[in-house]
Amino acid sequence: MAVSDLAQASTARSSAGGGRVEIARFTVLALVAVLSLLPLLAGGFLLYSLSLCFANALAVLSVSMLVRYGGEVSIGHSFFVALGAYAVAIVEHRLGLSIVVSLPLAVLLGAGAGFVFAFPSRRLSGIYLAVATMALALALPEILIGFEKLTGGFEGLYIAQDLIPGVAKSLQHYYVALLVLVLVCLALAHFRKSAQGLALLMAQAQPRAAEAMGITRSWARISIFTLSAALASLAGALTGFASSTVSPNSFTFFSGVFLLVGSVVSLNRLSLPAALVGGAFITLVPTYLAQAGDWVPILYGVALVVVTLGANAGDLRRFLPRGSGR
């Protein structure tokens, strides 16, 4: 093929791609509009569930971010989520301050904790890093119960302060969570184009090439884990705010596993719709399937298998006999 033909094909491709981008942008805008107007029609339990769903969507994003930009899997992100949630509760109990103060503080704490964990484990990857993060999730309930004076032990703590006094609590929870989720998605879209975002993607896909461009593997691993932990902690702060309570029950070992499940279900994508799918899967499915009782874990498992197989259908096709399915 001559160069001019190639260039023409390229132009055709990019205009088709432009159309797709427009449609995606319109879908997201429509979604935000619908979600913003929803409280006019619905109330009560649905709003409460959706507020939690938004907070969980952020937590799912934090895991997906680690997968996308770091190529790593964490089972223990519930640790950083709990850190954010307890930061909000403890700041309110000890200092009497609302999330205006505790939300940024939670982000900083999460980043700090992420860095403290990532620095010594910067040479770990794959299954070894996943197991190291598992240690965080396993230790978490014991830590929460052990520091009873600060964390309220088994009973946990209540979060009662309003952000804007006078406005209904359910509306506050809903809109704050939605606003932060939308802002984080915008920030992540911007990050994808930033120098740091590109450098992390390159370090993940071609570590040796990245190194030759001055991007070291340790820098990449520490940076992405710190960012992801900060985001998880922000998600935790909103989970606490939206549910008005924190207790060790909300942060068991399985919370970390479910975050990973949510990330897999959203195909590790970092867009608003994908985050909502992941958040909904770990928030709404268990709630609305509660009457199914013992079947919940099984339905969960089936859904997970279906999504994983469906998403990787292209790769699985090679297991089919020759000539079929092509």
Binding site: T11, H190, S194, Q196, M202, A205, R208, E211, A212, G214
Partner: protein
């Protein structure tokens, strides 16, 4: 020759490298002068890639010294050598599949970019200016190699020849002082190889060190002014293409029977 160029070129002296009992490089010296396209050839297993990896900091020789523009390179890793202005390409195309060609080239500018973590998430006027400047440089690099039209394509949509040129665009985008190319013509057809040669000649500047490690004898002979020949980890010859052609050792170990035509 070596003394005169040691001030501003890339120089290795007496490099030896072994893996366990296997001696890969023994007492290899070479001097890459700025403004000259230098070629490194040798049969399979001669140690070309090992020497290349010593130059880029991936391997560290057990003996010997290397320096660039008078600065000692010993002990520096790939990222630190990149900070000294040394860039490289890879034998196996090292493009990130998720990024467009333009973005792949933009990564090459990472060391030149100054915007901080805050502006990575929140757009600021300074960051926008910086981004535009970086994109301008990346597009200029792609245009210099004649592949600006593919800036927004994904690597998987493009033929290897274009990707090879894109790797070189990435290497030149950050205004390096030395470019090391590992088998740039591997997997290219005759037309693409010719494009590559033209591009390499065009980007040559008086202050640039350019090393091409290659199997393709014709390409090296036509492109390079200075050639080194490696065999069994030893440097067996160096000189101009005419001198190399006349070396009996080279004819015996590398050019084989085809050498007389």
């Amino acid at each position: 020759m070596m003394e005169a160029s040691a001030g501003n070129g890339l120089v290795v002296e007496g490099i030896s490298l072994g893996f366990g009992g296997l001696q890969v490089l023994s007492d290899v010296s070479m001097s890459l002068r700025p403004g000259v396209i230098t070629g490194l050839i040798g049969p399979n297993g001669a140690g070309k890639t090992s020497l290349f990896n010593c130059l880029t900091g991936l391997y560290h020789g057990q003996r010997g010294r290397s320096s660039f523009a008078g600065t000692a390179l010993n002990g520096l890793g790939p990222a630190q050598r990149a900070a000294c202005g040394i860039t490289r390409s890879f034998q196996n195309l090292a493009m990130c599949p998720d990024l467009s060609l333009l973005e792949n080239v933009l990564v090459g500018l990472t060391l030149k970019r100054r915007s901080g973590w805050f502006s990575a998430f929140v757009p600021t006027p300074a960051q926008r200016v910086e981004q535009q400047e970086a994109e301008r440089r990346a597009i200029a690099a792609l245009n210099e190699l004649g592949i600006g039209a593919f800036a927004h394509d994904k690597p998987s949509d493009l033929p290897p020849g274009t990707l090879r040129l894109a790797e070189i665009a990435r290497a030149i985008a950050c205004d390096p002082r030395a470019i090391l190319l590992d088998e740039p013509a591997a997997g290219l057809n005759a037309v693409e190889t010719r494009d590559l040669m033209r591009a390499l000649r065009r980007l040559m500047r008086p202050d640039l060190v350019l090393l091409v490690v290659e199997h393709d004898m014709d390409l090296i002979m036509e492109l390079c002014e200075q050639i080194y020949v490696l065999n069994f980890g030893k440097m067996i010859a160096s000189g101009t293409p005419a001198e190399i052609r006349a070396q009996p050792d080279v004819i015996r170990v590398y050019l084989g029977d085809d050498a007389d035509d």
